[in-house]
């Protein structure tokens, strides 16, 4: 049997890993996830592991998967981008699709451009912020970005046609913005092949830096090379294999080897007539400017109102979440938790939690509620921002003393039907899942405007029993702005965001 050539093997890998990414995200629901390592592709990202290490001082267990990638990159170059990265593979495929029937000058399109340096500056900015404790890599880490985009926009869109992976059609806060960004990124491939990977991707930049001294790389035999430039025709990285090779840009896609009619290119160790490599192309002055800008930006970020500088009532985090500061130091905004949540309550925050919290998960109880016996988001989270807790721990069964509290419900008497409209309603009391129920009522007799007497049950809240699951807000028949609403106060994870319930001693 003839062994497939290396380009074909790379394509098999690309299809395999892209399929694996789609499948792992598809099965990320209560019915199908079983014990599958659904976060595997997210956990492979060295950027997540390194930046997370900077912010939290630890490498979360799953992220140890990134170590083999780092190790292999040091020796074999930036292969991850065209062999494994799902966004890279998607970009490559869409570039090919866009340019297939257009008279594109592939040689020009695939030549190196100075704008490719931008990704190194982006990487530097993000890593400096991480070193200070602000984890913003999730905005641009390609795997987190793609997971978020698919969870919040593509899969829900497919679901509209009745074939999607969601049990119920989900909706997401600001989902259109996330969709629009993905579309722009894909469309950009029409102008520069793999625009994202070459120009913007901080993970690509990190892997590029790691691959600078890789002994295994594309080598050109200057004696055999006839300068036909055919190796440029399908080069994915734009790394000049026809001249002095730019190692940090090379994706090890192997297209150049297959395209060279002279056999002048090979992937491996140097030989006697191998051409030299181009030094790392980065402008130190620009790098310094980015570093200064990041250092200045950090205290600005911390001077803004956010859920970590002052508790925000609407920043209700999933059960098992770390305290806000640590949560932000771990959450990569991947939305895996939003994908697994069976009630659609988990939503990507907009600016309510502060800029740092953009696209991190919050509970929006108008949309869903936290199922009493569900702890799936903690299982899905690849970084430990939401810790893996057991059902017993969540509901406070022995040996745990208290249930996990997400916030507290408050009645708005001006909107509550029995309190202000003389109308019988105990929906909130009925659905409250705690034992004993946090919502209770008093029977009252009220005089109506026409002089008649009506007997009603008026609901009350026992704040020490309320766990903030939000089902009362969700089911309240006052549809638009419920008469009972949850705020984050009293949440288990925070020492500061508490009410004085016992009175002053």
């Amino acid at each position: 049997m003839n062994m497939p050539n290396i380009r074909a093997i790379r394509r098999i890998y690309a299809i395999f890993f892209f399929g694996l990414f789609l499948w792992l995200l598809w099965i990320l629901d209560p019915q199908h996830m079983k014990g599958y390592e659904t976060g595997l592709i997210l956990e492979l990202s060295p950027l997540t592991a390194i930046a997370g290490f900077f912010t939290s001082g630890t490498v979360y267990l799953g992220l140890a998967w990134a170590l083999p990638i780092i190790f292999l990159t040091l020796f074999f170059g930036r292969f991850f981008c065209s062999w494994i990265c799902p966004l890279g593979i998607l970009n490559q495929f869409s570039s090919w699709l866009f340019n297939r029937r257009r008279p594109v000058d592939q040689y020009k399109n695939n030549a190196y451009r100075p704008i490719f340096r931008l990704k190194y500056y982006i990487l530097a900015g993000l890593l400096i912020l991480s070193a200070f404790g602000a984890l913003q890599i999730g905005l641009l880490d390609p795997i987190a970005l793609l997971t978020r985009s698919f969870t919040v926009s593509l899969y829900p869109a497919i679901n509209q046609w009745g074939v999607g992976p969601y049990l119920n059609q989900p909706i997401f806060l600001g989902g259109a913005l996330i969709s629009a960004l993905l579309i722009v990124l894909i469309l950009a491939n029409r102008f520069i092949t793999r625009y994202w990977c070459r120009v913007l991707c901080p993970l690509g930049a990190l892997l590029g830096v790691m691959s600078l001294r890789a002994p295994f790389r594309i080598r050109r035999d200057v004696d055999k090379c006839t300068d036909c430039n055919k190796c440029l025709a399908n080069c994915q990285g734009g790394c000049d294999p026809h001249a002095e090779h730019r190692v940090s840009e090379c994706h090890a896609c192997m297209n150049c080897i297959e395209d060279c009619p002279e056999g002048a290119l090979h992937y491996g160790l140097p030989e006697s007539r191998t051409s030299a490599a181009k030094p790392f192309d980065i402008n130190r002055r620009r790098l310094g400017e980015v570093a200064v800008a990041s250092v200045v930006f950090y205290p600005m970020l911390k001077s803004a109102v956010s859920a970590s500088t002052k508790p925000q009532h609407q920043t209700i985090r999933p059960p098992g979440s770390l305290p806000e500061e640590e949560f932000n130091a771990r959450c990569i905004k991947c939305a895996a938790c939003m994908r697994v949540c069976p009630t659609n309550v988990l939503q990507p925050a907009l600016l309510g939690a502060g800029f740092e919290g953009l696209w991190t998960p919050i509970l929006v109880n108008k949309i869903g509620w936290c199922e009493h016996h569900c702890v799936l988001c903690g299982q899905a989270c690849p970084t430990g921002a939401i810790q893996r807790i057991s059902v017993q721990e969540k509901v406070g069964e022995k040996p745990f003393e208290k249930p996990v509290k997400l916030g507290t419900a408050f009645f708005d008497h001006g909107r509550c039907l029995p309190w202000s409209m003389h109308t019988e309603c105990v929906v909130c009391e009925e659905v409250c899942p705690t034992t004993p129920k946090a919502i209770w009522y008093k029977r009252v007799e009220l005089l109506k405007r026409d002089g008649s007497v009506v007997k009603l049950k008026q609901p009350y809240m026992a704040p020490d029993l309320c766990i903030g699951c939000g089902i009362c807000e969700n089911k309240c028949p006052v549809e638009d702005y419920a008469a009972v609403r949850i705020t984050s106060v009293g949440e288990t994870r925070s020492k500061a965001n508490q009410m004085l319930l016992k009175g002053k001693s």
Partner: protein, 332 residues
């Protein structure tokens, strides 16, 4: 001309290809290793299954089945009983099968809907049924215990709690006992002995009411999963007896909690040890006289004077009954 392309050696390419199936196998194997209670929150018993077929084969007399019965488990129960699912899940819910029936199978809406909840154990089924029974319900012979109120019939059959809901123009004439018999036939035999054990009350008169209290019976946190029964006695008086059952450890814990309670409230209970039981009698300034008769797996009690007329039938029953087996019981 030979192909000049310099490929990596064949063994290396073969090795790269071989890695993928290895990764698939590793993923599959780790995928099968999980805690089903934590992750799948799936029902222990596949919802529907053979039951759906039996319900379709033998509909209640005069009714035809409309479409295939639907099945729900813990993952999607909330789709059916929106907002109320958690009350069922925390009471031990396993699966739900819903069958729709109509006089005319082509009618736009069903005349009768049967919701058949598998609640894990008879006690859990009883508990959830009692939470659904309304004060105006009439006791009716359906399954092992049944009630009808308006267009709704509720009954118990082993670990199943069944709700029959009649609607539309034929609702007023709905024959609930006949419909219940059809459902019971589909469910198969229930263990009658289990029910007698579950409602282990002595015969103290006419049963007025039976209740299930999941937690904090009479405001006392140590009384959990309690069944209480109200009797009308021969002299016309009313008496309430309660029963809590569990593993020996649960009864030891109850005894300890009673002692702590007595200390905290400043009470001095009279404790009498019998051959395999213990009688604890309280004289409580707020609750009046009350007692608990504790065996290794059961505790009977009453808020009444512990006289022989009351205690002797309890003692006799305690001797007759096998120890309560809490197997499969979800702690309330």
């Amino acid at each position: 001309m030979p192909n000049p392309v310099r490929e990596p050696p064949a063994w290396l390419r073969g090795g790269l290809l071989a890695l993928l199936p290895l990764l698939v196998v590793a993923l599959y194997v780790t995928g099968q290793n999980y805690d089903p209670g934590l992750l799948a929150f799936k029902s222990e018993e596949g919802a529907g299954g053979g039951l759906a077929a039996k319900l379709t084969q033998s509909p209640p007399p005069g009714l035809a089945v409309m479409g295939a019965p639907r099945a729900y488990d813990k993952t999607n129960l909330y789709e059916y009983i929106d907002g109320h699912a958690d009350a069922f899940i925390s009471a031990g819910f396993q699966s739900l099968t819903v069958a729709d029936y109509a006089v005319d199978a082509n009618a736009p809406a069903p005349d009768l809907t049967a919701d058949i909840y598998h609640m894990g154990t008879p006690l859990q089924a009883f508990g959830i049924m009692m939470a659904e029974v309304t004060p105006d319900s009439q006791s009716v012979t359906m399954g092992q215990m049944g009630f009808v109120s308006g267009g709704v019939g509720l009954f118990l059959h082993g670990p199943y709690f069944v709700r029959l809901g009649a609607q539309g123009p034929n609702a007023a004439n709905m024959d609930f006992p006949a419909a219940a018999s059809a459902v019971v036939a589909a469910l198969g035999e229930a263990d009658a002995g289990k029910l007698r054990e579950l409602f282990a009350f002595p015969d103290l008169g006419k049963v007025v009411r039976t209740n299930y209290v999941k937690q904090d019976y009479r405001g006392l946190s140590f009384f959990k999963g309690v069944i209480d029964r109200e009797f009308e006695r021969a002299d016309g008086g009313v008496l309430t007896l309660f029963l809590m059952q569990g593993a020996p450890a649960a009864m030891t814990e109850l005894e300890r909690a009673l002692t702590v309670y007595a200390q905290e409230e400043g009470l001095t209970p009279q404790i009498t040890s019998e051959s395999s039981a213990k009688l604890i009698v309280f004289q409580d300034p707020y609750e009046g006289d009350w007692f608990v008769y504790l065996t290794t797996t059961r505790a009977w009690g009453g808020f009444a004077k512990a006289d022989a007329a009351l205690l002797d039938p309890i003692r006799q029953l305690a001797n007759e009954l096998p120890p309560f087996t809490p197997a499969g019981e979800k702690s309330p």
